[in-house]
Symmetry: C2
Subunit: 119 residues, 2 copies
């Protein structure tokens, strides 16, 4: 056996940087193949092939519009990856941690709110 197919898994599909770039683009708004190619400076066959991989793992949806095909991101398919990576959150080093920072921001907001209510 060789390396797993890129289409075997969301993990394998997003291992390719251009496919990640395509996904970032497509979650803003749906786009035609050539628009993606132009915006990312790739050639059309390459984009078509990457989109095929993304479609096979359900990371994008397609819709026909005349002679064009409009692709959009299906962010839901990334949730398993998010969940897997999140398992490790509690093992991250705490200093200058984004979570920590966000938690502090929340606490600050809470304090402010309480002070306001007290006055």
């Amino acid at each position: 056996m060789a390396r797993a197919a890129t289409t075997s898994d969301v993990y394998n599909a997003i291992a390719e940087p251009r496919r990640r770039a395509i996904l970032e683009l497509l979650c803003e708004a749906e786009r035609a193949v050539n628009d993606v190619a132009d915006e990312l400076d790739l050639d059309q066959p390459s984009v078509s092939k990457h989109l095929r991989v993304l479609r096979e793992v359900d990371l994008v949806n397609v819709r026909r519009d005349g002679r064009r095909r409009l692709y959009s991101a299906n962010a839901d398919a990334l949730r398993p990856v998010h969940e897997w990576v999140t398992m490790f959150e509690r093992f991250w080093s705490r200093q200058l941690d984004a979570i920590q920072t966000r938690a502090e921001a929340r606490a600050k907001r809470r304090r402010r709110r309480r002070n306001k209510e007290r006055r």
Copy 2:
């Protein structure tokens, strides 16, 4: 050019399911190579090779202990992946969403707290 090296990226490194399994194991506690092999039912050379990939992308640390080598996970290296995937959180469908649920739990706690303060 062919597919990117597995060692070129954390994304490529974690695309392989056995490497993810190894990481899950190593974040609990450091382990020797053969222990990993036993627990995951893999053979030793395979584990050594996977660990080499994980080490090259800084996902694990090694420590010598006599004739053994104790590997441990470096969860921090997963943070870029977490951040990238989290970008898509706001595009997830909202119904039965874990985030939603957690947000609601937070809101409930806040309400309870406020009520307590009011009494």
